[in-house]
Symmetry: C2
Subunit: 365 residues, 2 copies
């Protein structure tokens, strides 16, 4: 049995707590002889700042590059609101994405049947919802230069951010979306603002070409990001795979996640290019929710998104799709049994702490 | 009685139809001696392209600059998908905004009680919703330079868009938001991505300063635009006035509009600076909905957003708040009577064409 190297980066807020439940699952998989994971741990975000005055240390970056997959909790919190921009908690996550070249961010927005009523949307609008947002993650306005604030004198400053996209960046994220759609409902919706942004014009053009040249069997639709956002709120089930740039992907995937009513349940995968020799790819898995500093340390956090993110690691990094399916089924079964953490509690269900939820899922497995 | 000069720019798609109903209202106001409007008409968008190969002619731009207010329909449609980028229909609207310096875009998102069930959100989440998005409209990535596509050879192109914000641009839109909040629930939520964008850092800093210096009596909250979008979907009623940049404002105001279930009903105002001498300001009023080419020319379009936009003109450009209130009341009364255009039709209501709806509102008045 191959040994897989994992780097666990719990981060801040509820990160360590939910990561604890993944650790429990990993230990059990190892003990039961189902898989062989070697885990190491590092600091990222505010916790790295507190220890080393950086958002991630060079040592931990080296470990991340060396690992077969990084399992990431969450970063940030009001405690670090005043730290210098360069070392703010988010910088650690952005550096991981950029330096590991994790250009493809997959964010499934799935409505768990047991939670359909937790959405602010009507049940009929979200019941059975199952879409994936494929977000470009290493380009666009997140990383483009110049990115500066200049003092113009007279109390005036000028801030500049630059959105940059090259053809190859759009091509490769397009391929990820089309490949994924082939395994699903065979439909891709590309979203940009071509009526205002040159990057939108190029995005639209390249998606159309990749589609025509390599994936004519998949349905491709284009939508302006603003009306796409509207359609997402109006009738999300019309979509299958949505592919979009870094900033629109940030907005749209959060909105899609919120629609499902299952925010505390949603995982994500950030993937690099497949190495032609080793056939491996760099990868980082993280829950869609943030660090929730208000409930940190109280045993209230929902570990499902984190566990489900580890499930995505099993599927995408370790070719253990069957085991990933079992993890998903265990989560669904525990939910069906009525167990709920505070964030998804409703009448007639049973309260569970972070640990109780993690243990229950493990027991199901 | 002062004479007010209006330029009507119906534009494309359903634009001319809904503008027809505003024209009817203006004619009646003139005939009844309630006001004195002098109207002129121009072409914008695809219709200007068809006539002159531009998105708006110099003659019409001059008329717009000369008018006390521009009443704008909608632009765009598949017919012009292939026209050169510089003369695409949207360019006409963008030029009007920029050349008239209409930096403040006010987009109320109000849920009409009669339509609370038309939303994809649960009734309790949207009933009574009344928020305003104040969007910066002449800066940011819409107009920043460079804005280019460069051929890099080898089949590679590079697209660049630039987000630029200066202190004074953030200050003046902040003031609009704070002033508005004082007349409402006294709360402003500023949204940006300071964790990723330098313009977000500056935005946050300047809003905080303006607040502290000039509006300490108003409550100011800051939210990241992605989680702000989530909150908007989860519980929109937590907001009063939201102030944000051009691109986030584009996304967030469309989403807010869709939440209300009243998309075909929502007006907007785009305002310039108040001239210190004349105490007048340039202004453009337009419905939030687009040109809806699929239903154009069929008498199906809902004229309410257009009429309501004219109502905003009465209020913000002509100091006729009382008359504006009466227009709002007439709309509400017609809706309460059960009259509905196709977009908002539900069981037990009476169908109306564009004209029938316009006439009914006029009759109420
Ligand atoms: C933490 C932050 C930098 C990040 C982003 O903006 O990408 C987050 O919002 C996300 O979506 O993963
Ligand atoms: C038509 C288009 C250029 C415009 C924009 O992006 O600003 C529209 O979406 C809007 O919101 O008014």
């Amino acid at each position: 049995m191959a040994t897989h190297k994992l780097l666990l980066l719990p981060g801040d807020g509820i990160g360590p707590e939910v990561m604890g439940e993944v650790k429990r699952l990993i230990d059990w998989l190892n003990a039961a002889g189902i898989a062989k994971f070697e885990t190491d741990t590092g600091l990222v975000g505010g916790s790295a700042y507190d220890a080393h005055k950086v958002s991630i240390s060079e040592g931990d970056m080296a470990k991340a590059k060396d690992a077969d997959a990084v399992i990431f909790g969450a970063v940030g919190g009001p405690k670090w609101d005043a730290v210098p921009y360069e070392v703010r908690p988010e910088a650690g996550l952005l550096r991981l994405r950029k330096d590991l070249a994790l250009f493809a961010n997959l964010r499934p927005a799935v409505c768990y049947p047991a939670l359909a009523d937790a959405s602010s949307l009507k049940r009929e609008a979200v019941e059975g919802l199952d879409i994936v947002i494929v977000r470009e993650l290493t380009g666009g306005v997140y990383f483009g230069e110049p990115k500066t604030i200049t003092d113009l004198g007279n109390g005036q400053k000028r801030a500049i951010d630059t959105q940059v996209y090259d053809t190859y960046e759009i091509e490769r994220i397009g391929r990820v979306a089309f490949e994924l759609a082939r395994k699903r409902k065979n439909k891709v919706t590309s979203m940009e603002k071509r009526n205002v942004m040159k990057s939108g014009v190029l995005w639209n053009e390249v998606m159309t070409q990749v589609h025509k040249r390599e994936y004519p069997d998949v349905t491709l639709e284009h939508q302006l990001a603003d009306s796409g956002g509207m359609m997402l709120v109006k009738w999300p089930k019309q979509f299958d795979v949505i592919v979009t740039d870094n900033l629109f992907g940030d907005m749209l995937s959060d909105i899609a996640a919120m629609l499902t009513g299952s925010l505390g349940m949603l995982p994500s995968a950030s993937l690099g290019e497949v190495d032609v020799k080793t056939r491996k790819r760099k990868a980082l898995y993280e829950p869609v929710h943030g660090s929730a500093p208000d409930i940190a340390g109280k045993g209230l956090a929902n570990p499902i998104a984190m566990i489900s993110s580890f499930g995505m690691a099993l599927r995408y990094s370790f070719d253990m799709g069957d085991l990933a399916d079992k993890v998903d089924q265990a989560i669904a079964a525990v939910l069906a049994s009525g167990l709920r953490t505070a964030d998804i509690k409703s009448e007639g269900t049973t309260s569970a702490s972070t640990t109780q939820m993690g243990e229950a899922i493990l027991k199901e497995l």
